[in-house]
Assembly symmetry: none
Homo-oligomer: 401 residues x 2
C-alpha cells in the first residue's frame, strides 16, 4: 500500500486552501568548498520569515543519488511514486509542446534523420537541422491523413518533433524504430502485444507517407520514432485527495504534467506577478493551487549562479502576496536541485518548507539547504508531501481506530 | 524496482575513481552515560578534515533496530538490499574460509557431533572439541571421494567445518540434518525440490563415508549439516554500476563477500600500510576500490574500548595516503557498529562520510556519531550509498525526462 492508497481512503472535506509553490531546481551547491549555495546566498527575508513560522526539511524526489527529470520530479511532488508511475518519453514530449493527452492517444517522440538511396541512415539527427527549417518540414507532415485516426504533429527543437495518434484501440507497446546506429535502415514498427498492432500499422503508414513527402529534402528525408506511450494512468487529485486543483504555470511541460494529475490549467500568465494575479482570481474556485516558477532551474542549467540568486530573490518578493491570501497550508519546494556549479539537474535533496497553524515549528531561522538539515520534516521522500499538506489542512482522517 | 534496478539503467562511464574504506564495526557507544564513543574519543585529525570537506551522515545497514552480520552489512554497503539477497549460512562460511563459490557449487556448514551405538546424538557439538583436534579430523575427511563430485572440506573453529560439493546439477534446497535435540539420530538429507535430489544423495554418501572414517573417534564420530546453499545470485558491480571493482582485504570472509559482488581480489596485503600500497599499485586498473579494515570490529567484540580507539587512530593515519591519490569520490563507513560496551555487533546507525567536489558540504566539523546527526546525508539506508557514490562521481544519468 502506497501513501496515495492511504490518502485515497482517509481524505475528508473542509474549506481549507493549500498552495504549493514550486521553484524549479531551487536546490543548489556552493561554487567553492565551504561557500554558500544559491539559496543561502540570496536575500530572502520573506522565505526566512516563513522558515521561522513553519517547518523545514529536505525532500528526495526519487531516491538518494538519483537525479530526476522534470516529469518524475513533479509527479513525486504531486504524491505519485515516480518509480511506480513512469512517464513515457512520447507522453512527456507531447505534454511539453502543449498537446493534451487523452485516453485514446499514443504519443511518440520523433527525430528527423538523413537516409541514403538505399534507405540506410546516414545521420540519425539530420545534421541537427535548425529549428526554423525543422518547423517548416513539420508543417508539411501535418498534411498526412490516415483513415480513423486523428494525427497531431508538433515541432520540439532542431531535429526533434512529436507525433500523436488519436483513435480507438491504439496500444502503446511499440518498439523504437531508431536502430541507434548509422549504415542501416530504420527498424520496422514492431508491436509488443496484440492491442498495439494497430498502432504499429498506423505508425508504419505515417512513416511511408512522411518519406514520400520528404523525399526531396537534403537532410531531413526520413524519421525515426521513440518512446511510444499512452497517457500514464494516474489517479486524479480529486480521487486521490478530494481536492479541486488548479495549476498556474507558464511553460507547457508543467501545465501538461499538472493536467495528467487531473488539475485544471487556469489563466494565461507569462510572469510571476501575473501568476499571482491568477491565483487571486481563482482563489474561491479551488482547494489546491500549484504555482510553478521556471527560472530558478533555467539559470541553474545555464551555470549562472548570480542570476539564479536573483531569480530566487524575485520568487521571495512574491511571497507576501501569497501569504496575504492566508492559505491554510503553504508549501515552498522544488522538483529537484539544479546547482549552477553542475549546470544540470542533480540528486541533491531539495529545501522544502511547510507552513500551517499546526505544523510543529522547528529551530530553522532561514530557508536554505544547511538550515533545513535541522528542520522538523527531516529528509523525506517527496511523494509524502501531499499527505503532509492534507494533514496540515485538516483534510485527512485517522488511520484505524 | 529497487535502487540497484535504477543504477543498472542509469549508470554511465567516465574516468572517475571511487574509494570505499570500510572500518568494520566503527560505530560505538560511550562506556558511561554522557560519555564519548570510541570514534569520538579517538584523535582523528584526518577524518575530521574530511568531515569538514565532505558530507556526513549515519547509515542503517538493514533496518532500524536490526543488528547485521558481516554478510548483510557488507552486501548493503555494496548496494544490494540485504533482505532481498540473503546469503546462505553455508555460502557465508565457505566464503569465510577462503573457498571461492562457483555456480556449480553447494556449500554446507557442518558440526561434528557425538553419536551413541544406536546412532543417536549424545552431544550436538562433540564436546566443543579443540580446534587443533578438529583440524586433524577434518583433514581425514578430505579423503572422501564421490564419483563426479569435487569435494572441499575445510575447518572453521572447534567443532565447526565447511563442506563444499562441486558438480553438475546440484541444487541448494536441502533441509538441515541437525535435529536440534539429543537422543535422536541426525535427520536424513531431504531435498526440497527435484533439482536438489542429487545434492541430498551426495550429502548422504558423504555422511556415510565420514561416519566410517570417524567410527573410532571418541567425541567427533558423527556430523550434522546445516545451511545448504548455492552462490547467491547477485548482479556484479560491472552489471549494476558499470564499475571495474577491486577489493583490498586481509581476511578471507571480506574477500569472499567482495567476490560474490564480482570484485577482483587484488594483492596479498597483511597490514593497512600494505593495503594502501596495493591500492596505489592497482590505481590505474580499476574504477572502484573497496578497502576493508578489520580491527575496529575485533577490538569492539573483545570489549576493549581503549584498543578500539587506537585502531581508529591507526585507520585515521592512513587517510592522507589515500587522499593523495585524489579519488573523485571517497567514502568512509562501516558495515555496522560494534560498541566495546556491548562486545558484539549492534543495530546503531554507522557514521559515514562522503567527499567529492559536488557533495554539498554540511556543518559537521568532526567525524563522529553525534556530529554526523547534523550531516547532509541524514540517516539513510546503507544500500543507497553506491548510488550516491556513482552520482558524486558523475556516473549516473538522469531518471526520466
Amino acid at each position: 500500500m502506497d501513501i496515495q492508497d492511504l490518502t485515497k481512503l482517509l481524505h475528508t472535506q473542509n474549506s481549507s486552501k493549500i498552495v504549493m509553490m514550486v521553484a524549479d531546481g531551487i536546490g543548489g551547491l556552493p561554487l567553492e568548498p565551504g561557500g554558500k549555495t544559491e539559496l543561502e546566498t540570496a536575500q530572502t527575508p520573506n522565505l526566512d520569515q516563513l522558515a521561522q513560522k513553519g517547518v523545514s526539511g529536505l525532500s528526495i524526489p526519487v531516491a538518494p543519488g538519483i537525479t530526476p527529470g522534470s516529469g518524475p520530479g513533479h509527479l513525486a511532488l504531486f504524491g505519485y511514486d515516480p518509480i511506480q508511475h513512469p512517464i513515457g518519453r512520447g507522453a512527456l514530449e507531447a505534454t511539453g509542446v502543449g498537446l493534451e493527452l487523452g485516453n485514446n492517444d499514443v504519443a511518440i517522440r520523433c527525430n528527423f534523420c538523413t537516409l541514403d538511396s538505399k534507405r540506410n541512415i546516414l545521420d540519425r539527427r539530420a545534421g541537427r537541422i535548425a529549428s526554423e527549417t525543422s518547423f517548416k518540414i513539420v508543417k508539411r507532415l501535418q498534411e498526412i491523413k490516415i483513415p480513423g485516426i486523428t494525427i497531431f504533429v508538433e515541432p520540439v527543437k532542431e531535429h526533434r518533433f512529436v507525433v500523436l495518434f488519436r483513435g480507438d484501440g491504439l496500444g502503446g507497446d511499440v518498439d523504437d524504430t531508431d536502430p541507434q546506429q548509422i549504415g542501416v535502415p530504420p527498424l520496422e514498427t514492431k508491436a509488443h502485444n496484440e492491442c498495439s498492432k494497430k498502432t504499429a500499422a498506423v505508425a508504419a503508414q505515417f512513416i511511408q507517407q512522411a518519406e514520400a513527402l520528404l523525399k526531396d529534402e537534403e537532410q531531413a528525408n526520413g524519421l525515426t520514432m521513440r518512446g511510444f506511450s499512452k497517457r500514464p494512468n494516474l489517479p486524479s487529485y480529486e480521487e486521490a485527495y478530494g481536492l479541486r486543483a488548479a495549476a498556474i504555470a507558464v511553460y507547457p511541460m508543467y501545465k501538461g504534467l499538472a493536467q495528467l494529475a487531473g488539475m485544471k490549467i487556469v489563466g494565461n500568465a507569462k510572469t510571476l506577478e501575473e501568476q499571482v494575479a491568477v491565483l487571486k482570481d481563482v482563489w474561491n474556485d479551488f482547494d489546491f493551487f500549484f504555482l510553478h516558477f521556471k527560472y530558478t532551474d533555467s539559470t541553474g542549467e545555464d551555470g549562472n549562479f548570480a542570476e539564479k540568486v536573483k531569480r530566487i530573490e524575485e520568487f521571495d518578493q512574491i511571497i507576501p502576496q501569497v501569504s496575504a491570501l492566508s492559505p491554510d497550508c503553504l508549501i515552498i519546494t522544488g522538483d529537484h536541485s539544479t546547482p549552477a556549479y553542475l549546470k544540470q539537474h542533480s540528486w541533491h535533496p531539495v529545501p522544502t518548507l511547510l507552513v500551517s497553524d499546526c505544523c510543529r515549528t522547528d529551530r530553522c531561522k532561514t530557508f536554505g539547504e544547511n538550515e533545513a538539515l535541522m528542520g522538523g520534516l527531516g529528509q523525506f521522500k517527496a511523494k509524502y508531501l501531499m499527505a503532509l499538506a492534507l494533514a496540515n489542512a485538516g483534510r485527512l482522517g485517522k488511520y484505524g481506530a
